[in-house]
C-alpha cells in the first residue's frame, strides 16, 4: 500500500518538475526544478531496494552536478529570459514520444519475453551496499578503474577549458563592454 502511494507521489512530482525544466523560459527556474527532480528520482531507487544507488543519486546529482551547473551559471547572465524561435511544434512532440516508446519497446522486449539469464544475482540477507561492493570490486573492477580515469580526464578538461582568462569578469558588465575588454585581452 505504501509503495503504491509513494510511487504515484514520486511519479507526479518528477513529471511535474521535469516538465518545468523543459518548458521554463528562465534558466534559473529550470536548474532549481532539475535539482528537485533529481532528489525525487532517488525516491524511486529507495522504493526499488537500490539504497546505495539512491544515496549516490542524491550526492552526485543534487550535490556535485547541480553545484557545477550553479558555478557555470555564474558566467552566464541568467536573469534574462531565454529567447528562442521554435518551429514545427506538433511534429517535435509526436516524434519525441514515438522515439521514446520505440526505444523502451526495443530495450525491454527481451526482458518482457523472459529471454534473459541472471549472472550476478542478489543474495538474500546481504545488504544492498555490501552487495554493490562485492560485485563492483570483482566483476566490474576494470570498468570501475576506467571510470576513475575518465573522471580524472574530465576534471582536467573542465579546469583547462574554464580557467583561461579567469581574471576578466564578464557577468558584472554590459555585454558590449565585456566583449571589447575581452578582445583587448586577447589582442595582448
Amino acid at each position: 500500500m505504501y509503495e503504491v502511494i509513494a510511487f504515484y507521489l514520486f511519479s507526479f512530482l518528477t513529471i511535474t518538475l521535469f516538465s518545468i525544466v523543459v518548458f521554463s523560459k528562465n534558466a534559473l527556474y529550470s536548474m532549481t526544478a532539475l535539482a528537485g527532480g533529481m532528489i525525487f528520482i532517488s525516491g524511486f531507487f529507495f522504493l526499488l531496494d537500490a539504497d546505495f544507488l539512491g544515496v549516490v543519486q542524491i550526492i552526485v546529482y543534487s550535490g556535485a552536478v547541480m553545484a557545477v551547473y550553479a558555478f557555470g551559471m555564474i558566467f552566464i547572465d541568467t536573469t534574462k529570459d531565454v529567447k528562442e524561435t521554435i518551429k514545427a511544434k506538433r511534429m517535435i512532440y509526436t516524434f519525441a514520444t514515438a522515439i521514446a516508446v520505440l526505444l523502451v519497446v526495443i530495450v525491454s522486449s527481451p526482458i518482457i519475453s523472459k529471454n534473459i539469464i541472471t549472472s550476478t544475482s542478489i543474495i538474500d540477507g546481504v545488504s544492498n551496499s555490501k552487495m554493490v561492493g562485492y560485485i563492483l570490486f570483482t566483476k566490474y573492477l576494470v570498468p570501475f578503474e576506467l571510470t576513475a580515469v575518465m573522471l580524472l580526464v574530465a576534471m582536467v578538461a573542465g579546469i583547462v577549458l574554464v580557467s583561461k582568462k579567469m581574471d576578466i569578469s564578464l557577468s558584472m558588465k554590459s555585454d558590449y563592454e565585456a566583449k571589447s575588454e575581452f578582445e583587448e585581452g586577447v589582442a595582448k
Binding site: V4, I15, L48, Y61, I111, S119, T120, T147, M150, V162
Partner: protein, 100 residues
C-alpha cells in the same frame, strides 16, 4: 500493486520529456538539462529491471551511467563557458559556422 511495467512506463514518460526538451530548446544549457533527464529516466528503468530479475547488473550499469553523466557535465560546461566568453551567447543557432 506496483509492477515492472509501472516503472517502465514512468521511465518512458520521463525519457519522452527529456527528448522533447532536446529537440525543442535552442539553448545549450537547456540541452544539458534535458540530457540529465534522459540519463535519469534510463537509470530508473535499469533499477526496476534489476529488482525484477534479482540481479545486480542493472544497478551497476546505473552507477556507470551516473559517472558518465558527471564527466559529461564537467566537459560540457567547460565548453559552454568558453563559447559564452567568445560569442556572449549560447544559442544553438550561433553555432552554425559551417552553413551546412
Amino acid at each position: 500493486m506496483i509492477t515492472l511495467t509501472h516503472y517502465l512506463v514512468i521511465s518512458s514518460i520521463l525519457f519522452a520529456i527529456g527528448l522533447v526538451g532536446i529537440v525543442r530548446r535552442k539553448n545549450l544549457l537547456m540541452l544539458f538539462f534535458s540530457t540529465e533527464i534522459l540519463l535519469n529516466a534510463v537509470n530508473i528503468g535499469f533499477a526496476a529491471i534489476s529488482r525484477e530479475f534479482h540481479d545486480m547488473t542493472g544497478q551497476m550499469f546505473a552507477f556507470f551511467i551516473i559517472a558518465v553523466a558527471a564527466s559529461e557535465v564537467a566537459v560540457g560546461l567547460g565548453l559552454l563557458v568558453l563559447w559564452y566568453k567568445r560569442k556572449s551567447t549560447i544559442d544553438l543557432d550561433s553555432m552554425q559556422s559551417m552553413r551546412g
